[in-house]
């Protein structure tokens, strides 16, 4: 894998490519779920690698298709997991805003193991945003959701991004979603960035037929 990305503070970068191209591996290396073989990962003056910075010190929000909620906790406990046990009033109000904006009120006290996949995805977004991370990594978070839910999550992310001001790297294989969230795109193929720039530039001159096919609507 050979990837070089630079993201401005508050910016949004899309990683686009075919399945198996290495998009998810890039995010998992930044998050620390996997370790890169070589090179470096730096964010906001912190060196994530080398040496590997412990995950709890990275300040990164990470959401995958499976949000990996903690099954022994309720939805509320999951979302508040990263906050201190004794919450301030401001934090409690923040959680309530997240809860209401993502439609979680009805399942707030439900066990995380008992909710549907779509509800879990929304809870995963709320849990990720609860700590207001400066960098958010999204790995195909809309996969498998119906259009209504996709729209709701997209709108929620756009609203929260404006409010919190986090930087974002998004992975998906659907260009429509990525274009809505990010103005810059890096195209990955076989573990290498093969094209980078604005969506308009990439669409105007796709590097190969595979990319051209991926960019076409169904």
């Amino acid at each position: 894998m050979d990837v070089h990305l630079e993201l401005e503070s508050g910016g949004c970068f899309a990683l686009f490519g075919a399945s198996g191209s290495g998009k998810s591996t890039v995010l998992s290396c930044i998050a620390g779920i996997e370790q890169p073989d070589d090179g470096f990962v730096r964010w906001d003056g912190l060196s994530f690698y080398p040496p590997p910075l412990p995950l709890h010190l990275r300040g990164v929000g990470y959401l995958t298709q499976d949000p990996h909620l903690f099954p022994h906790l309720t939805v509320e406990q999951n979302i508040a997991f990263g906050l201190a046990a004794a919450r301030s009033r401001a934090e409690s109000e923040w959680l309530e805003r997240l809860r209401d904006s993502l439609g979680l009120a009805d399942i707030w006290k439900a066990a995380a193991s008992q909710i549907s996949g779509g509800q879990a995805r929304r809870a995963g977004v709320a849990r990720m945003l609860a700590r207001r991370p400066p960098l958010v990594l999204l790995d195909e978070p809309f996969n498998g959701l119906d259009r209504q839910l996709r729209r709701e999550l997209l709108e929620a992310l756009e609203v929260w991004r404006r409010e919190i001001g986090f930087s974002m790297i998004v992975v998906d294989h659907e260009s429509e979603i990525l274009e809505r969230l990010c103005s810059s795109v890096a195209v990955i193929a076989q573990g290498r960035i093969v094209q980078q720039g604005s969506w308009a530039a990439v669409r105007a001159a796709p590097i190969d037929r595979v990319l051209d096919n991926l960019l076409r609507p169904l």
Partner: protein
């Protein structure tokens, strides 16, 4: 027809397994509980329950971090560790007792030797069971907990332990039964102070079956119900 035959065979098998318990109801001479029997028997109950509890505390304190470490190792290192703990489990109790008495030296026939022997005979069961319990906790959950700002100890107490606790309880219950019932090794390393198994043997040798039955009943009551309940609960809630 075939399923009825299979069920009948299963019932017969279950009855055969439960048959030894019928000995509790066998008509024998009146149970004996005079001073010659009750005094040492009550002392053995205190020894067994007290010192086995201490042994279990040592097993948990030493065995849990070991199990956490082993559960997160690669395949080859795990095999090595499993070989070590299997050795402690598979050693014949009498052989283990003889080897421990040589190791303990002057410490034999003391509470320390009693506790040490119980730790040796049971820690392998606990650790291997605890490793299986921790294996059941997906590491991705631990990583997500860390990404939410939790340091390793908080991840363990807030995610790993709650998800593994039922498996840990099963492992500890097996270790408890193993330690409480240990005779072959303890009779060599710690004849004194006598725990329930050794005292049962002494009562049998000295006074016969009537002197054994009261202590046997107490022994079964202290050894069986908790592990039995824990195992049944674990079967009903495997993902608790």
């Amino acid at each position: 027809m075939r399923s009825k035959l299979a069920r009948a065979a299963a019932v017969l098998f279950a009855l055969a397994l439960l048959y030894p318990l019928s000995g509790l109801f066998t008509q024998i001479r009146s149970w004996r509980w005079d001073a010659d029997v009750s005094g040492p028997s009550l002392a053995s109950i205190r020894v067994s329950l007290g010192l086995t509890s201490l042994a279990m505390l040592i097993v948990v304190v030493l065995g849990t971090p070991a199990a956490v470490y082993i559960a997160r190792r690669g395949v080859h290192e795990r095999l090595w560790w499993q070989a070590v703990f299997l050795l402690s489990i598979l050693l014949p109790p009498l052989a283990l007792g003889i080897l421990l008495s040589i190791t303990f030296g002057r410490v034999t026939n003391t509470p320390a030797a009693f506790v040490g022997t119980q730790v040796y005979v049971s820690i392998g069961y606990y650790v291997l069971g605890a490793v299986a319990a921790f294996d059941g906790v997906p590491t991705i959950l631990e990583k997500h907990a860390a990404l939410l700002g939790q340091p390793p100890t908080a991840v363990f107490w807030r995610v790993t332990f709650p998800l593994a606790r039922l498996g840990l309880a099963v492992a500890l219950s097996v270790a408890w039964v193993r330690a409480l019932g240990e005779f072959g090794a303890v009779v060599v390393t710690a004849y004194y102070p006598s725990g329930m198994p050794v005292q049962l043997w002494v009562n049998l040798q000295s006074f016969g079956l009537p002197a054994v039955m009261p202590l046997l009943l107490i022994f079964l009551i202290t050894a069986l119900p908790l592990p039995w309940a824990v195992h049944l609960l674990a079967q009903r809630r495997p993902h608790a």
